[in-house]
């Protein structure tokens, strides 16, 4: 049973961290509404676990882990399942809107990457987690993280070849 003091503390946590957690959820599912559902699901599970979280510094990693594992288990949801890469936005020119189009294209392309590979990429390249931290969140070995990231980047690069070759996936792939 939660203590009365848990709710204000949880509320504080939500206020402070939910924007960042939502963005992680968004990158995992690529859909605003689904990301909201995912965040809410993760926060509900976090609240249930709250009294047992010995160190509240663990709360955000715990919630992030739920987001990742839940999004993987939701993989068959139609709304973010097998997004066709043919719907990628047209290549942009020297237009001021170039950056936005590019970012959208990356999100759409990310959805063509299998969920675990996508999770590994999001955790490594968006969350800036180390391979070991990523492995802990995903519940797998560091070796598995390396292979997931490698396979994911290969797929991502394939989807984005015309627009991003060398510029997006090239720089950090070899850093860890």
């Amino acid at each position: 049973m939660r203590r009365a003091s848990d709710v204000p503390a949880f509320s504080e946590f939500v206020e402070a961290r939910s924007p960042s957690l939502f963005r992680t959820a968004y990158l995992m599912v690529g859909d605003h509404q689904l990301a909201q559902d995912l965040l809410q699901e993760a926060l509900v599970k976090t609240l249930i676990a709250w009294p047992r979280l010995r160190d509240h510094a663990n709360v955000e990693p715990y919630t992030r882990r739920i987001i990742v594992t839940t999004s993987i288990s939701w993989r068959r949801r139609r709304s973010f399942h097998e997004r066709p890469s043919s719907t990628l936005p047209e290549p942009s020119g020297p237009d001021p809107a170039e950056a936005t189009v590019t970012h959208d294209a990356v999100v759409v392309a990310l959805l063509t990457v299998p969920p675990r590979q996508r999770a590994a990429i999001v955790l490594r390249y968006y969350q800036d987690l180390t391979e070991a931290q990523t492995a802990e969140v995903m519940g797998c070995s560091v070796g598995a993280v390396k292979s997931q990231v490698s396979a994911g980047l290969k797929r991502l690069r394939g989807s984005l070849r015309q627009d991003f070759d060398e510029t997006v996936t090239g720089e950090r792939e070899t850093t860890s």
Binding site: M1, V7, F10, S11, V14, S18, P19, F22, R23, T24, Y26, L27, H32, A35, Q36, Q40, L43, V44, K45, L47, I48, A49, W50, P51, R52, L53, R54, D55, Y62, R65, I66, V68, T69, T70, I72, S73, W74, R75, R76, R77, R78, S79, H81, E98, T102, H103, D104, V106, I121, Y125, Y126, D128, G139, L153, D163, F164, T167, V168, E171, R172
Partner: protein
Amino acid sequence: MTETLSDVLRHSAEAVSAPSVDVAALVARAGKRQRRRRIMLALAATAVVGAVTAGSLAVRGGSDGDIEPAPSPSPAPPSSVAVDPTGARPMVYAAGSTLHVGDETFEASKPVAFIDATDDGAVYEAANDCTLWFTDGTTASVIGKSPWTAAPTARYGSVVTGDSGSLVVWGDVTSCKHQEAHGFVVYDTSRREVVRRIPSAGAVLYVDEDQVYFSPRSDPGCWVQDLHACGDPHLFRYDVTSGETTKLALAEWDADLSTHTRMFVAAMPGLVGSFHDFHQAASFSQVGARLVHADPVPLTTTSGEKVRLRLPNGWTAPGAEGSGGMIQVSQWLDDDTVVLWADDGGGDLPAKNGDLLVCRLPDGTCRVAVARSARDYVAPYRASE
């Protein structure tokens, strides 16, 4: 375009407006889920801590009126109830009024609403009429009354069997219309008789071959099994053979549970203690050909081996895409074999159209034991429509 992937992901994510989160709604959802989990964990607060009722109360079949005194517990020798010669517990489930007990089938008079297993057969209730029956698959007899089985949402927790052995425990009531328990009835399906009455009411937590673990509190402020720490959970262990009751500390409770093999354990760094799963708390999700623990916590056996389960080739979880089907433990057949039920989730309503899977823990293989059909089934820890 010269940004790194990291920069692009960050910019993409930050371009999305984060919604405001309704904390009150989350608190309400969490509360609802915890209540449901408690019910499913056999901890429903269905009983009132009551005064001890001296003497025995009994069971009779038929009407839902007052209950007549039952025979006192006797030291009669075990009867010759059929038991699987391999020592494995029979798999039990019901479809409509047809009960399946291992290889046997038995026709109940009405559709079965509740079923659970002992080593000797099935305990069931037909048509929510407050009457508990036991069948070994060939004959059936009334063993008692439990009004809480009639409440669809409180079905579990009111009648508890062990994962091994022959004991069935339920709240002792004087009337099906008055749901105040005076204690617990302990019935032995191998002897087919009431063997003990525990003079304390509350919630039964766990039953094994010869012991009943219970909490005499109906106050939900300090649950033993939940995702929280409970400093003084008021735990008791009742020894059915000696009739003695012992108060347990939380560590003793944990240690006792750790000796049981038919149980899963979930634990995570940063969380306080372990979470012993008494069945349903362990939800699984299908990931390709594997079943993975739905919560982000490693699931192990009590001996510490990681639970790794593989689905049959081509098997897919029931339900439409995105429906969030559920896969949970129904019963243990032996120390290495567990039955899972899988259905379409059903949201807050009873779900339908699932399979019963039998999984072997040593090699992680699962097979479909009962395939889904248009006819819904009732299985241990799975409600009827």
